[in-house]
């Protein structure tokens, strides 16, 4: 398979790989038997106005080069974003940005699923729902 320059860049210099000992939410998806396992850890800080912000993100990947690249790009896209903004990051955008071939699109789906799982974990741990508090404006893009 020929890889795009974007995939190669992220694969060779993956961003935000590692662990977050004080993560607020952890998502792990996939299985060794299916050839891909992805873990995303988020550190979320709530601003005085109630905005939840991803201040730190770390990931670990067992998967093909495209899965590593997709995860790396995803961490870049969500770092510093509000949770509401991060939830808008879709696998499709990652697949396009990395010019993933059709056979490799599912690798970016996995990255999105890991993010969703990490956010769900945070919601559960913090007892929050993620619904906008009354009176606040919906997040703008």
């Amino acid at each position: 398979m020929l890889y795009s320059a974007q995939v190669l860049d992220h694969f060779e210099h993956p961003r935000n790989m590692g662990n977050l000992p004080d993560a607020s939410g952890v998502g792990m998806v996939g299985a060794p038997a299916s050839g891909d396992v992805l873990k995303i850890q988020l550190k979320i800080v709530v601003d005085p106005d109630g905005t939840e912000r991803i201040v730190e993100v770390k990931a670990k990947v067992f998967g093909c080069g495209s899965a590593i690249a997709a995860t790396s790009l995803l961490t870049e896209l969500i770092k510093g974003k509000t949770l509401a903004e991060a939830a808008q990051v879709k696998n499709r955008a990652i697949a396009v940005a990395l010019a993933l071939p059709p056979l490799k699109r599912h690798c970016s789906v996995l990255a999105e699923e890991a993010l969703k799982a990490a956010i769900a974990d945070y919601r559960q741990r913090s007892g929050t729902t993620g619904a906008a508090p009354a009176g606040t404006a919906p997040p703008t893009q």
């Binding site: 299985a31 038997a33 299916s34 590593i68």
Partner: protein
């Protein structure tokens, strides 16, 4: 000598054409371009005598008579012709075929097609080492069995099958015996009589000959094997395979067989030593590595290793200047891991982490050492990123851990 990059270590996929082979072929593209079927002029005669010389060279390597060879476009065609050709010719006698789960797709898919046409096929399992048990063949033989097809050496794990024993069983029961011998011919001694073979598939491009030319050995005496041709046409190759012969290819195939015969003993010893150096070098540098296939009954140039916790495609991609292959699902169009590795029962997780090294004529000790160093560096880099590695280090049993199973695709 400075190392030349990239390094080719994928000789099971294909091999370069040897310079001597290329030189032998050259005149047959231009000056000696005749059609071997042209019986009335010198151009045709020159082509025909070149074909017969090549037939003798190939026959010499496998211990058959030159007339017992049918030229084809490669082993895929040879496998199809052997299996379908025999099935159609012996249908009255029986409709049962025995093969193994680790055959090449050319064999497996030919058998699957025959199943749709009313044949019964037994796909024998293999041991953890990749061996077919001759006792399983004996048990599977029935009064309706017409053909047993077991490969000589596997293209992924290099395991060499006990063909002589299986051949004896077939002979006792009057059942024809075919082998896809593509990976073994020219690498290890092969003699059709010693192995009890009635049909055998060969291809030139795995033994430093050109792509697109192969042969099927078809025994002519005791028994005289009948075949139904799979293509209609001019009746070339005694009606067994129509189509104008690929003269340059056949000449190259013949020369490649002659060379392989001359080099076999020394190359087998050299490649076995290189293979052991590679495996020792890997084990010295990395832990959690597993050999796939048989420790000794394997092709000299074959090494198949699972690098636990590192997905195979990502490792291939990391080894930028080394050409090897992987049994991981991520490298296959089907997104399924290698069925050969699955058949060994090593588990899908390990299958995804496998790398196949195919050493060949050009490879050197320097290259092996370089590959060991790159492997150590890249496996370590990827393991540092692997959630599985950190779990295993923390003592989590990955086999019993809970995984969120998703649908791939």
């Amino acid at each position: 000598m400075a190392l030349k990059l990239p390094i080719y270590m994928d000789h099971h996929a294909t091999t370069p054409v040897a310079p001597e082979v290329f030189e032998a072929m050259r005149p047959y593209f231009t000056e000696r371009f005749g059609n071997a079927a042209s019986r009335n002029h010198s151009f045709g005669w020159a082509a025909e005598s070149a074909v017969e010389a090549a037939r003798a060279q190939i026959a010499g390597l496998i211990g058959c008579k030159p007339v017992e060879l049918v030229f084809t476009s490669g082993a895929t065609e040879s496998d199809n012709l052997a299996i379908k050709g025999v099935a159609k010719a012996y249908r009255e006698k029986g409709t049962h075929i025995i093969t193994s789960q680790i055959e090449h797709h050319a064999v497996l898919d030919s058998c699957k097609r025959l199943e749709k046409e009313g044949f019964q096929v037994t796909y024998l399992p293999v041991s953890r080492d990749g061996l077919v048990d001759p006792a399983d063949v004996a048990k599977a033989l029935t009064a309706k069995t017409i053909l047993v097809s077991i490969m000589l050496a596997n293209n992924e794990i290099g395991t060499i099958q006990p063909l002589a024993e299986i051949g004896r069983l077939c002979k006792e029961r009057g059942v024809l015996f075919h082998s896809d011998a593509v990976q073994g011919v020219g690498k290890i001694p092969v003699n059709v009589d010693a192995l009890g073979l009635d049909l055998m598939s060969l291809t030139a491009h795995k033994l430093y000959g050109p792509k697109g030319v192969g042969a099927l050995y078809v025994r002519m005496g005791k028994p005289r094997v009948k075949l139904v041709a799979q293509m209609d046409g001019g009746g070339h190759e005694k009606g067994r395979r129509s189509g104008t012969l690929n003269i340059p290819g056949i000449v190259g195939f013949g020369k490649a067989c002659e060379l392989a015969g001359q080099l076999m003993t020394s190359e087998a010893a050299r490649l076995t030593a290189l293979r052991e150096r590679l495996w020792a070098g890997i084990r010295a540098r990395l832990d959690h590595v597993h050999l796939n296939g048989h420790p000794t009954l394997r092709l000299p140039g074959n090494l198949n290793v699972s690098f636990e916790y590192v997905e195979g495609e990502s490792l291939l991609m990391s080894l930028k200047d080394v050409a090897v292959s992987s049994g991981s699902a991520c490298t296959s169009a089907s997104l399924e891991p290698s069925y050969v590795l699955k058949a060994l029962g090593i588990g899908e997780a390990l299958a995804h982490t496998s790398i196949r090294f195919g050493l060949g004529r050009g490879n050197t000790e320097e290259e092996v050492d370089y590959v060991c160093d790159r492997l150590a560096e890249q496996v370590t880099r990827l393991r540092a990123m692997s959630p599985l590695y950190e779990m295993a280090q923390a003592g989590v049993d990955l086999n019993t851990a809970q995984w969120s199973l998703r649908e791939t695709g």
